[in-house]
């Protein structure tokens, strides 16, 4: 039988939880140190998701909410990349769910108070499972930046929210992808809650113009790395032997 264990998280490469520049964290971020404990079966076995949950247009945000095939406003982009673990093994069947604002920077959500128009042909919701090589791809439109109340009104850089399930609950990741060259990235307190520059930069989707001729589309490449799972073989011995 294979014993599985997750390698420990390196919190220096993650955002600070208690980060007052991001105002919402002030009354929500826990103050105590986390209790560190080795992962067990709970964190290393599942969940994984079946491909029969995925609909044909789930990864095409330009069509999955459009009426009469009318395109949403904004320019179309492809967002693609691979999901692998920290040992560079591609993860097949990882579930990626994304959500984003429309081209005007507005979410299709009752709690969004940004006075920008909704787009009747765009929900900003998509998902897919990675292929055997860990590859994923979404067709969507470029999300707009948007204002939000923080220390006064501040602006979020253009971004897409990502939720990823790999092979186990302990690999669970929720993050955001930013867009290469966006001047708002360096002003964003949520980005800056990550102190490590290299880690920060790893959230920036890299512009890829190689698809611009064939498909008339700009593409952004965003590779995702989930925690590594070590497997060690052990014999099923009886207690005390």
């Amino acid at each position: 039988m294979n014993a599985k264990s997750l390698i420990k998280r390196n919190y220096e490469k993650h955002p600070e939880i208690d980060f007052p520049d991001y105002k919402s964290s002030i009354f929500r971020a826990p103050k105590n140190r986390k209790i560190s404990f080795p992962s067990s079966n709970t964190e290393t076995i599942g969940p994984i998701f079946n491909k029969n949950i995925i609909g044909k247009l789930d990864n095409d945000l330009t069509l999955n909410f459009s009426k009469n095939k009318i395109s949403p406003l904004g320019h179309k982009i492809i967002v693609y990349g691979t999901v692998s673990d920290q040992f560079t093994n591609p993860i097949k069947g990882a579930l990626i769910e994304i959500w984003q604002a429309n081209a005007a920077g507005k979410y299709l959500h009752d709690n969004d108070e940004n006075p920008a128009p909704i787009d009747p042909n765009f929900a900003g919701c998509g998902r897919c499972l990675t292929s055997s090589s860990g590859y994923y791809e979404f067709l969507t439109i470029q999300p707009g930046p948007y204002p939000y109340p923080n220390r006064g009104i501040e602006w979020r850089p253009m971004h897409i929210h990502f939720s990823i399930f790999g092979k186990s609950f302990g690999q669970r990741l929720i993050t955001q992808m930013y867009f290469e060259g966006d001047p708002l990235i360096k002003l964003c307190p949520m980005v800056n809650s990550i102190r490590n520059e290299k880690a920060k930069n790893s959230l920036i989707g890299v512009l890829d113009t190689s698809k611009s001729n064939t498909k008339n589309l700009l593409a952004y490449k965003f590779d995702i790395v989930l925690r590594g799972i070590k497997q060690t073989y052990f014999e099923n011995r009886k207690e005390g032997l």
């Binding site: 997750l6 390196n10 490469k13 993650h14 955002p15 939880i17 991001y22 919402s24 002030i26 009354f27 929500r28 971020a29 826990p30 103050k31 105590n32 986390k34 209790i35 404990f37 080795p38 067990s40 079966n41 709970t42 076995i45 599942g46 969940p47 998701f49 949950i53 609909g55 247009l57 999955n64 909410f65 920290q86 040992f87 560079t88 579930l95 959500w99 979410y107 299709l108 709690n111 969004d112 929900a123 919701c125 998509g126 998902r127 929210h161 939720s163 609950f169 669970r172 990741l173 929720i174 955001q176 809650s193 290299k198 790893s202 790395v225 989930l226 925690r227 070590k230 060690t232 207690e239």
Partner: protein
């Protein structure tokens, strides 16, 4: 024996923000056209009502206000202590009036881990919301189980351990409130 070294850094977290429902539970906010069902609506299929337990509670911020924009994901083994990769997962959001989340599931069994230690029955939680730069992890244990030999609970000091134990309020029904801050701050895990 840690002989293999990681070659890559894990991708950093960012907050799920206030609009996570669009991507994770669109049907819950009336975006009904896209996915037939929201993920994690039912953790175990084909179970009778009388086989189920209920775990309910709220997630409180430092002002004692119950959050209504939080998402709680739960993961557990079956009643025999077996993890089945395709069942045992649920996603919950609080009711917008009561501000309580409700998990209807089967009571997990205890299991013998890869470390050959016996773990008391528990449900694993992952908590995401605006204001949380990283998802928080914790576990729910049950007060009517044998808990004193659980490998995790036994390393936590007695005053704190209660934050991981659901109280039985009636038959098959448990209360588990989560406190993000304050005197009763829940224990969160680096696991």
């Amino acid at each position: 024996m840690e002989t293999i070294k990681a070659k890559l850094d894990e991708t950093p977290f960012q907050t799920a923000g206030p609009f996570l429902h669009i991507g994770c539970m669109p049907n819950a906010i009336k975006i009904n056209k896209i996915y037939q069902n929201d993920l994690g609506e039912i953790p175990f299929k084909d179970k009778q009502e009388n086989e189920l337990i209920t775990i309910e509670g709220s997630v409180f911020d430092g002002n004692g206000v119950a959050l209504d924009d939080v998402m709680i994901e739960t993961w557990q083994c079956d009643e025999k202590g077996q993890f089945n990769e395709d069942s045992g997962f649920a996603r919950l959001i609080p009711n917008n009036i009561t501000k309580k989340f409700t998990l209807k599931t089967i009571k997990p069994g205890s299991y013998k881990g890869f470390d050959r230690k016996t773990y008391s029955p528990h449900v694993s939680l992952s908590i995401s919301a605006r204001g949380l730069n990283m998802t928080l992890n914790t576990r729910v244990y049950f007060e009517d189980d044998e808990l004193k030999n659980d490998p995790l609970l036994s390393i936590i000091s007695l005053d704190n351990v209660n934050s991981l134990i659901a109280k039985k309020i009636k038959k098959n029904s448990y209360l588990f409130d989560i406190f993000l801050q304050g005197d009763k701050e829940t224990i969160f895990l680096d696991i």
